[in-house]
Symmetry: C2
């Protein structure tokens, strides 16, 4: 087949043995790559009895047809497994260069099963997989691990866990390229439970392209488009260039989502980051945009001279905790990367703890003052959480667990997954996606309620001009289309910033499909594109239903149901009855019953083999 | 004795018998009158086994030396009993003319015990008490009851309950003078449980004055002071003249205390009430201020042509529920008065229900849309609550009960008593009083954190210039002095608006003491005045301790511990650790142990007889 190898590296840690895992050709037609192929493997291989941290869980690194081609926006990889956060299959994405190497490795991905008896790491050099002892790496930070392994395997790229993953912190992540994080579902803990410290990949093959010359042209055009359109603002200020705009709209998550307006937003903005801290810009494989920050900062005796924070991190350690000290945020970001902690979840956890202390549900030790905005404590808590030290231990299993223990109702998490930094009260369609997503609250699945006015996305998807961010009407339809599009994006493993932008004035999916056709030889029209996305998302919903998630779990937090008290979206909320009406409409459109996709829906999506008894 | 009769009318409903209850002379020296004497009677008569709605509970109407003298500000009476809201002894006050009649009745008060076999009402005409059948009045509104009884007993004044008290609504009240409410502790339900429909009093005696001529002079001076100082703003706009100022400060309770700023405050302000609805002004016995509103309005087919709402009512049915329709508030106020429902508690209950519906904890029937600000529903719900009809039944036992049942944490009540319309996050000392008051959240006990600068109160009480509303330092001391002063005010049963004003530039306690001396012949200095107040408050705290209230109950709601999100007091809150430090300091000053006043404190206050075993 063009574009894919048709096999995954099958790594058994228990047996310390590697093999090939053949992927049926039909799965590529159905699922394309990335999340889709991985979810399909998990659907076939898991029997439902395994806990996320058990040996029976599978951890899958995947690519799709575009990884390894140096197409701008495709410098990404996907990681999938049963999540310690949600208890169901979830996936996670990171940019950088690891995906590119994996795309050239001779395998479309790596499937890791079992549990090692001793710390191991995996190398995939050329097409040769091998497990090696990681005894000497165990306990090291991700940065240290990566440095040592790259020193040893020149030209390779490394995904590794730090102490957080080793210590089973539920919101730990997997870090590659000194600061690119595959965060959210807690896969650092899965890797840690498996005693797998790192995966080292040096791709030595070449991607088989159906139309090599055609692809080269497309790639160049694509890059030109990106550099033209994104080299300016987005490239200049990075993802946190959005801080001031969201603050203006009144939906910059602030004080644990109590409000959407932070009086010191300017201090933590992308502009401030650019002017006061930026030393250079980095990028992912093949992408000319260079949105990644390289910064220099110092806080509390800690120095940073490397990867800077993304928008999510700036908001979660910043406005969400009422912290206006960008130096502290930069240091917090680095610490999380080194430990391998998800920055969103860590920030949301700390904000929750601040509120819980304020209200007397939690007491901190005397030396730790957990008052709002205390940047020193934020940074210190990261150490304690990652190491499960003292008060940090209480937070290490996540706010879902803590909320139950303390009897509170202000933990900002859905299905165990902490909210990302987008307040859906000012983006109603996103709220519906938050509520219904099989992965819990995620910002890379739902739509951000862009206003469509006569642009390409509207034309191709038939959504023109009917939506605005605050309206509720027709949002189920919009959410569905948009989720399908994002699910396709995550199946092709493209960067959402390069394929679609906030203003709604860029939409380059026709070009992405052209690129895919040049790689695989198969044509995709807009409808087929959306069907692939839908199929892969519905597959995840089916896997969630297997874990007994049903309609009653498709809900929002009390706070998101409440009205925003002030700012540009004051008075907006997603009250229960509104949410229920939206979910009704959405379920009808999606072909979901009370407990997940119906068999009719599965048949319609050619997923008959996965039908359920009732 | 001058000023008092030394006896209460002792009414036994079970036996349908009246007698005299002799009050030891020493009690007047210790407790003065009003809340103090009543609490002392309750302390001696209750044995702790009786529930608030049991026959064993006692309901006491009381006066003090100043009632019946026509002194401005003394046109009030006090009602005391074990409260169905808090489960402990509480008291309640109403203005009007009932207190004046009771002061002239030959008794200092009325003590009601037992439970009638059939509906009864009590007449005290001259010094003759008699129980009569109320079979024909049962089921009538307070206004209807009052009209019929006054028709029958010309010149008398009536306190009665409506359907709410008859139906045992926990936040029902006792109404006199067609709109003066003795609200808060739910004494309507106590009267209802006792099957006592009304108390009719026509005072035919004369107050025995120690210095009749001296008192006449004092009374005239007092009236002149009041008319000079209060005839302007306060008289003009009434208590709801404060709406705009509180909104400006960001502490006008809004959206169930989520914030302190209401965008439509102007529509519900005292100015708007004055300009658009006022037809006349009413007053209480002897008072030239005329702060009581007489209004004309129409809403939803209901007409009002009579008593208008006070500030508390305007805020609880207005900003608290996001309702900006003053016509609806006026109708809601009238309905509550007719049914005998406490307007504060009713508003707070509806705001809680709105939030609970928003978040999906409660579902309303289809025809009842309980969205924020829905004025039609607010008015309709009052009918349903008072009659315990359908959805109203769910709200009738109060939000404390409902919060437990639904597992929420946003019921704005303390010790079972719904918060009045003062956000203590912008008046920190009031927060301490809310938390520690033996009566639950009350606005007539605590201090409102006036800034003292070189005024009389500062000079006499030694508090000069050391406080501002947002500071926490020294607030325990201030709260204590202020509570003692208010407790004295409630023992003398004086109107707090005539004795002290918000701006802190009026303080006429020396004049009140002069008046008391002219009545009783006994001199009181400032210190003795505060000691009487303290003694009576500590006595209530002791009675709460008997009901197993201890320090752990001296707490605030989660929401009050949180920071205000916007407005003039944005960022202000009373977080747990701050509150605990304040309570520590307060307990030390008050002589409280973990479970109420210590025996040392009781001895110091000459309450040795009430000492406890441990």
């Amino acid at each position: 087949m063009y574009g894919v190898e048709g096999r995954y590296l099958d790594v058994d840690l228990t047996e310390e043995r590697v093999a090939d895992y053949e992927v049926p050709a039909r799965w590529y037609d159905l699922h394309l790559g990335g999340r889709g192929i991985a979810a399909r493997i998990l659907a076939e291989e898991l029997d439902g009895s395994e806990g996320p941290l058990d040996a029976g869980n599978l951890l899958i690194f995947s690519t799709g047809p575009l990884q390894g081609t140096n197409l701008g926006g495709a410098g990404r990889h996907c990681i999938s497994a049963k999540s310690p956060k949600t208890g169901s299959v979830s996936d996670s994405y990171a940019g950088g260069y690891f995906g590119h190497q994996l795309g050239l490795s001779g395998y479309d991905g790596i499937l890791i099963r079992g549990e090692a008896q001793r710390p191991l790491y995996l190398t995939l050099l050329g097409a040769k997989g091998r497990l090696r002892s990681a005894e000497e790496l165990w306990g090291e930070t991700t940065y240290e691990t990566e440095e040592e392994l790259i020193e040893k395997y020149q030209g390779a790229r490394v995904s590794s866990i730090g102490p957080a993953g080793e210590n089973g912190i539920r919101f730990s992540c997997i870090i590659s390229d000194m600061g690119r994080a595959a965060g959210r579902p807690g896969f650092g803990a899965v890797m840690g439970a498996k005693k797998l410290k790192a995966v080292v990949v040096r791709g030595e093959g070449e991607k088989s392209l159906y139309d090599k010359e055609g692809f080269a042209e497309i790639r160049k055009d694509f890059a030109r488009k990106l550099v033209d359109e994104e080299g300016k603002n987005f490239g200049k200020y990075g993802t946190s260039g959005g801080v001031l705009g969201l603050n203006e709209l009144g939906i910059l998550p602030t004080e644990n989502f109590r409000r959407g307006e932070f009086e010191h937003a300017d201090k933590i903005s992308g502009e401030s980051l650019y002017e006061n801290y930026l030393t250079s810009r980095e990028t992912c494989s093949g992408c000319p945009v260079r949105c990644k920050r390289v910064v220099r900062a110092e806080f509390g005796g800690e120095e940073v001279n490397g990867a800077g924070p993304e928008y999510e991190t700036v908001a979660s350690f910043g406005s969400l905790c009422l912290n206006d000290d960008l130096s502290a945020i930069i240091v917090a970001n680095k610490k999380c990367n080194e430990y391998g902690l998800d920055t969103i979840s860590t920030g949301v956890t700390i904000a929750y703890a601040m509120e819980a202390c304020e209200k007397g549900y939690l007491q901190t030790p005397r030396e730790l003052e957990l008052d709002w905005g205390n940047s020193k404590t934020i940074v210190e808590l990261i150490d304690r959480i990652a190491r499960r030290e003292g008060f940090g231990e209480r937070l290490a299993d996540g706010i879902g667990v803590l909320e139950e223990e303390l009897g509170t109702n202000f933990a900002q998490q859905l299905k165990g997954q902490e909210l990302p930094m987008h307040d859906p009260r000012g983006k109603k369609g996103l709220g519906l996606s938050y509520a219904t997503s099989p992965r819990g609250a995620t910002h890379v699945e739902g739509m951000h309620d862009t206003v469509f006015e006569g642009n390409d996305v509207a034309r191709e998807l038939g959504l023109e001009g009917r939506y605005d961010r605050l309206a509720v009407e027709d949002k189920a339809e919009l959410a569905k289309v948009y989720e399908d599009l994002m699910s396709f994006t995550n199946s092709a493993i493209m960067c959402r910033f390069t394929t679609f932008n906030r203003a709604g004035d860029r939409y380059i999916y026709p070009e992405v499909r052209e690129a895919l056709q040049a790689v695989t030889g198969k044509e995709l029209d807009a409808e087929e594109m959306l069907t692939i996305g839908e199929r892969n998302l519905v597959l995840l919903k089916l896997l969630a239903a297997r874990e007994n998630y049903d309609r009653t779990h498709d809900d929002l937090t009390d706070r998101l149901k409440s009205r925003l008290p002030c700012g540009g979206s004051a008075g907006e909320g997603l009250p229960q009855h509104t949410l229920e009406e939206m979910v009704d409409e959405y379920y009808a459109l999606r072909g979901y019953g009370e407990s997940g996709p119906t068999n009719e829906k599965l048949e319609e999506l050619s997923l008959n083999e996965l039908e359920r008894d009732n």
